[in-house]
């Protein structure tokens, strides 16, 4: 039966692979962050499948910290680019 | 019987937290539109937290009436003095955001 093939290890591996494909293929930065959150789920699942429970606890706690640092960087760089664009248009008008 | 714990001990922890919370002048119920209020009252967080903390202590291996009583007292003191500093009301953040835009 094919249902024997579905267990926690293969599910987590499939999740991590789909997340990797999404990070590479999607163009916009926020889409990349969403797929990165998906990859983190697969990563924690893989650690749990190997029964390293303390490592899984630490990984689960540190996940949103990584996501929030990435989001702060995206928001800041977007504001800087918007300001840059406006100043460039002003220069063109002058 | 499927239920393992004695229900009576949970009632002791709940009652201890409730009575000590009322003695410490926590209000009995939150302000009137209950689903939007943020006040820490005797019924909502304190009683639930007392039962939950006693369940944790029970799983760690300490059981009995005296443990339930001590857990209720510590929970009432915790939710009176520490809980507001541990989980602050995020009203300031929202106001700052709305004024920022």
């Amino acid at each position: 039966m094919y249902l024997d093939f579905v267990n926690l290890t293969t599910i987590s591996a499939a999740l991590a692979l789909i997340g990797t494909v999404g990070i590479i293929a999607l163009p916009k930065p926020l889409d990349k962050v969403i797929m990165f959150a998906l990859l983190q789920g697969g990563f924690v699942g893989m650690i749990v499948a190997a029964k390293y429970l303390d490592v899984a606890m630490a990984a689960a706690i540190f996940d949103p910290i990584a996501t929030i640092i990435l989001l702060i960087g995206i928001i800041k760089i977007n504001e800087v680019r918007k300001k840059n664009q406006e100043s460039q248009e002003d220069g063109n008008l002058a | 019987m499927i239920i393992h714990a004695n229900v009576f001990i949970y009632l002791i922890a709940l009652a201890a937290a409730l009575i000590l919370g009322l003695v410490l002048r926590l209000p009995l119920l939150p302000n009137k539109p209950i689903r939007h209020s943020w006040t820490i009252s005797a019924v909502f967080p304190t009683a639930v937290l007392a039962v939950g903390f006693y369940a944790m202590v029970y799983e760690l291996g300490y059981q009995g009436y005296i443990v339930a009583l001590i857990t209720g007292i510590i929970t009432a003191l915790f939710s009176k003095f520490i809980l507001e500093k541990l989980v602050p009301v995020p009203q300031k953040d929202g106001e700052e955001e709305s004024s920022h835009e």
Binding site: - | I2, I3, H4, A5, V7, Y10, I34, R35, H36, S37, W38, F44, P45, V48, L49, V51, G52, F53, Y54, A55, M56, Y58, E59, V87, P90, D93, E97
Partner: protein, 167 residues
């Protein structure tokens, strides 16, 4: 009891439990945090109802009665019948306060599903059925067709008097 039949009945019980508690606690009335507003407007733009969109956005942005139902079922499965649900209620309360939410819906859902699991364990329901049933119930709301699900949730909110006043 047959396994498939048990999972189906448990899914229906979980669906009714968390939708009624979330609607009663006022999730469709307005966005609790700012991210729920974005998701609700996006669902409305794709042809759904605004109150249902706020409901879905609030479920995404903070652990509500749906999370309380799932985590109390997991706690009852792994720890024990009354203790796991109570421990899950405390942890869901702290998670709710971290996500800037008052936390009434999560604890109410956890306590009510603990009572339901305790009562139905006498007639042969296993606790695993409720875990799988909760995932299937959340799949029907968040995972299949969002405008249709939001219209159904809007009708329920209208019937219970919790429809949104925002436009």
């Amino acid at each position: 009891m047959n396994e498939i039949l048990g999972i189906a009945i448990a899914a229906v019980i979980c669906w009714v439990n968390f939708v009624l508690i979330d609607t009663w606690m006022g999730l469709p009335e307005g966005p609790g945090v700012k991210g729920a507003d974005v998701i609700g407007r996006s669902v409305q733009k794709r042809g759904g109802d605004l109150a249902g969109g706020f409901f879905q956005g609030n479920i995404v942005c903070s652990p509500d009665a749906s999370a309380g139902t799932l985590l109390a079922a997991i706690g009852c499965y792994a720890i024990g019948i009354p203790e796991g649900g109570l421990i899950a209620a405390v942890l869901v309360y702290f998670g709710n306060r971290l996500c800037a939410d008052p936390g009434y819906a999560g604890t109410t859902g956890a306590l009510s599903i603990t009572v339901i699991i305790f009562l139905t364990s006498f007639i042969g329901f296993k606790t695993e059925y409720f875990i799988v049933g909760m995932v299937i119930a959340i799949l029907t709301i968040q995972g299949i067709y969002h405008p249709g699900a939001s219209r159904l949730l809007g009708k329920i909110a209208h019937k219970m008097g919790r429809h949104t006043k925002l436009t």
